[in-house]
């Protein structure tokens, strides 16, 4: 992978060149404390390019004796805003020129001088609680009022605080404060062996667990140069697509809950349950854990199970299409989803939005097709793209993808080659790094790893699809009425656990 080493002071200029006025996009940006290796902090920027090679990595180095700051990349692309705030929180490196340096990951109760991802921060250090004010953004003006929502909600929803600036029912501005349950997984796995850290990676999130396992495993294999068998590649495709199926079907049902359409909700829940029982049959786990492991696959799919999957797919496809017709022909339903919560294409580009949200705003982007992994290069499928960017577009993208997933599953089951399941991960040269990616049901999911002594984790960074897409919710909502927010939020269906890693 092409990796360009630069001095941190040149980061902004180099990033501008790599970003190429929006022709390319920022995939991830994170720091690493490499002072023990060569006396430097490093800031990595991964860009995805419009042509091959698909990725370009910038490695900006900052010597420990220099002032701990670097020129912000936010003037180049807004997508860098969250990454830099996170680097500021976790490493104490200050992006100069960042317009909004409020804490992101560590809230106002965390002291300013404790930077947990620095290597000299011991994981058992007692951290004092401080009390400062966290300033939420708001709009001034006559008749403008604020509506605070969360972090504790009336339903079983993960914690997030949303501050709406309202003129009557109309939302003028939305500011979200998230990361209430940040778990510090990236720190916790440091020093663990690759195999042990895997279990934490797989459990970052319940909804995209296979995708996390896949991205992590591919990162390890890419660093180790391990080549896995074809059978394992096909098995991975099957598991990844089963995950997409139960997510998309469940999300479509959940979206109906956002507008109180009970028939859609119960049909979605029923189909999702059937799919999750199928998951349990295939992997022994309703969330598809345990099959994908570094080095290949830990479980096999026997011919009987393959038959059972095919049989279930037939039944579910028929049912699912019936449910979709129910939605497509329902004017009351369409009235709620059409033109609600529009994410403009340019905003999606500026924020480097990924996955379903990007494809609903007219950006044709799918890592399965663009940078194939596992056995996706052998699969024949379409990437649905809608241009209206509203709740309906995100819904129909999911609907079309569900059908495509079933298509991919049929091909993978039919073409399942024979071969060994798993290869050994050899000893890896210390301080080598690399990353893996997969298209989760919510979008691209990127895991970056640096391996330390004895095949242990030196640094682990996770850029989930939800992390990339959360800022887009705050763009799509203003201009809509506040009772439509739950619907808009559900149409993005972003995950809190994926950002609280």
């Amino acid at each position: 992978m092409e990796q360009e080493k630069i001095w941190a002071g040149d980061l902004q200029a180099a990033a501008a060149k790599a970003y190429d006025n929006g022709r390319n996009s920022l995939v991830a940006m994170f720091a690493n404390d490499e002072r023990q290796i060569d006396g430097h902090f490093a800031i990595y920027c991964i860009f995805s390019l419009a042509q091959t090679p698909y990725f370009k990595i910038l490695k900006a180095q900052l010597h420990e004796s220099e002032p701990l700051e670097f020129p912000s990349v936010v003037p180049v692309t807004s997508a860098a805003a969250w990454y830099e705030r996170e680097i500021h929180d976790l490493f104490g490196l200050k992006p100069i020129g960042h317009p909004d340096l409020r804490p992101l990951v560590l809230h106002e109760n965390w002291p300013h001088d404790h930077h947990p991802l620095c290597k000299d921060f011991d994981i058992h250090t007692p951290v004092p609680t401080v009390s400062e004010e966290y300033k939420m953004e708001y709009v001034h003006g006559e008749g403008v009022f604020e509506v605070p929502v969360g972090p504790i909600h009336a339903g079983i929803i993960e914690p997030g605080h949303f501050r709406f600036s309202q003129a009557g029912e109309n939302t003028i501005h939305l500011d979200a404060k998230l990361f209430f349950t940040h778990r510090g997984i990236e720190k916790a796995v440091e020093g663990l062996t690759i195999d042990k850290a895997f279990y934490q990676a797989e459990r970052i999130c319940g909804a995209c667990t296979a995708s996390h396992a896949l991205s992590y495993s591919q990162a390890v294999e890419s660093i180790a140069g391990a080549v896995i068998s074809n059978r394992a590649r096909y098995l991975r495709v099957i598991v990844a697509e089963l995950e997409r199926l139960h997510n998309h079907v469940g999300d479509i049902g959940n979206l109906c809950a956002g507008l109180g359409f009970a028939v859609g909700v119960s049909n979605g829940a029923r189909l999702k349950e059937e799919l999750m029982r199928l998951n349990e049959l295939v992997t022994g786990n309703r969330f598809l854990r345990g099959l994908i492991v570094p080095g290949g696959a830990a479980l096999d799919i026997t011919t009987e199970i393959a038959h059972e999957i095919s049989r279930m797919l037939r039944a579910i496809e028929t049912d699912f299409i019936e449910v979709l017709d129910l939605l497509r022909e329902n004017d009351a339903f369409l009235d709620r989803v059409n033109t609600t919560g529009i994410l403009p294409r340019q905003a999606a580009l500026d924020l480097s939005v990924v996955g379903v949200a990007a494809r609903a705003s007219g950006i044709s982007k799918d890592m399965r097709r663009d940078v194939p992994y596992a056995a996706y290069q052998n699969m024949n499928f379409k990437v649905p793209v809608y241009t209206s960017g509203d709740v309906a577009a995100r819904l129909w993208v999911r609907a079309d993808e569900t059908i495509q997933s079933i298509r991919i599953l049929r091909q993978a089951l039919a073409g399942l080659p024979s071969g060994t399941l798993r290869v050994e991960i050899p000893a890896i040269k210390p301080y080598s790094s690399g990353f893996g990616w997969s298209e989760s049901p919510r979008g691209g999911n990127v895991h970056w790893l640096m391996i330390g002594e004895g095949n242990t984790i030196y640094r682990y960074f996770v850029r989930s699809a939800s992390y990339a897409n959360w800022p887009a919710v705050a763009v799509a909502d203003p201009g809509n009425i506040i009772p439509d927010f739950p619907l808009i939020n559900k149409s993005f269906e972003l995950c809190y656990a994926c950002i609280d890693r």
Binding site: G155, A262, D335
Partner: protein, 300 residues
């Protein structure tokens, strides 16, 4: 004697109201392939809440404290005025008194929703007023159709007239108009969603979000009673057949119970086949009801 009958009637309706909610919930659950809670679930909930202490925000005033009792009493009083047994009735059985009893309960509920200063209460209260501004005239209009026929706004006279009428187009339109109003007034889809946990979309639930314990139990009970009152009104004024009059109290009672259950099930069906509409589309929906009422008047 009249007062005694009224009081007995109000108490019977009060006791029956949670069961009607149970019927609606059960029907909804069945329509959605769910098993649903047992029919008597709301009785358990109310009993549980009545035995519990209430938690109050330190910022609330006396309005917050008395509102559950006023809301409850208003509903109970309205229940006493329903012309179920058709024995006559006096001034208090006037249509306007009846409607404004319900409105008084609503008025206090909206006041109290603003009292705690929570954003959801304020949103719920303002939406409730927004909708009631639309609902009340339409409700009156629908009922006036019957009042014009009977030449009186006395509920007993209206129910009596309705019973002697044969089926007419005018009634059909008015019934449609009233059914729409009933959906809105009892906080059901497509206007409000009684099952939602999404604070931002709530109307009735948003207003009572600050309540807990006994006051909440009273509000639940009163809301169930108000819903039963609306259903009964619909049954008495718009579906009076088959009628057995004062002559056969038993048959009249059975006929009313059957019709109430049927209307409850139809509410569940209406709520299942559609979804909540955009808040600002509610005026159109109410206009539809108003239009039906006008048609009903014109078709006289």
């Amino acid at each position: 004697m009249t007062m005694f009958i009224d009081a007995i009637q109000a108490l019977i309706l009060l006791m029956a109201a949670p069961l009607v909610v149970g019927v609606i919930k059960k029907a909804k659950a069945r329509l959605q392939n769910r098993r649903g809670p047992v029919l008597r679930q709301l009785y358990y909930d109310i009993l549980k809440l009545l035995a519990k202490d209430s938690v109050e925000s330190p910022t609330v005033s006396w309005i917050f404290r008395i509102t559950p009792y006023i809301y409850f009493t208003a509903a109970l009083a309205a229940a006493a005025f329903l012309p179920i047994w058709l024995y006559g009735g006096g001034f208090a059985n006037d249509l306007l008194v009846f409607i404004y009893l319900l409105a008084a309960g609503r008025f206090f509920l909206v006041l109290s929703s603003l009292d705690a200063g929570s954003a959801f209460g304020g949103m719920g209260g303002s939406r409730e007023m927004f909708i009631s501004v639309l609902v009340e005239p339409v409700l009156l209009l629908a009922m006036l159709t019957v009042a014009v026929r009977s030449g009186s706004t006395n509920l007993f006279a209206m129910a009596g007239t309705a019973m002697q009428e044969t089926f007419s187009l005018s009634y059909f339109f008015a019934a449609g108009a009233f059914f729409i109003v009933m959906l809105a007034e009892s906080g059901r889809i497509p206007v409000d969603n009684p099952d939602t946990h999404l604070e931002l979309t709530m109307i009735h639930e948003g207003m009572v979000l600050e309540y807990s314990g006994r006051p909440l139990g009273l509000i639940f009970w009163a809301a169930a009673l108000k819903q039963l009152i609306l259903i009964l009104l619909f049954v008495l004024l718009f579906v009076p057949w088959p009628s057995f009059g004062a002559g056969s109290l038993l048959l009249q009672g059975i006929s009313i119970v059957v019709k109430v259950v049927l209307v409850a099930v139809s509410l569940a069906v209406a709520e299942t086949v559609t979804n909540k509409m955009r808040l600002f589309k509610v005026p159109n929906f109410m206009a539809l009801s108003g239009l039906l009422s006008l048609l009903a008047l014109a078709a006289q």
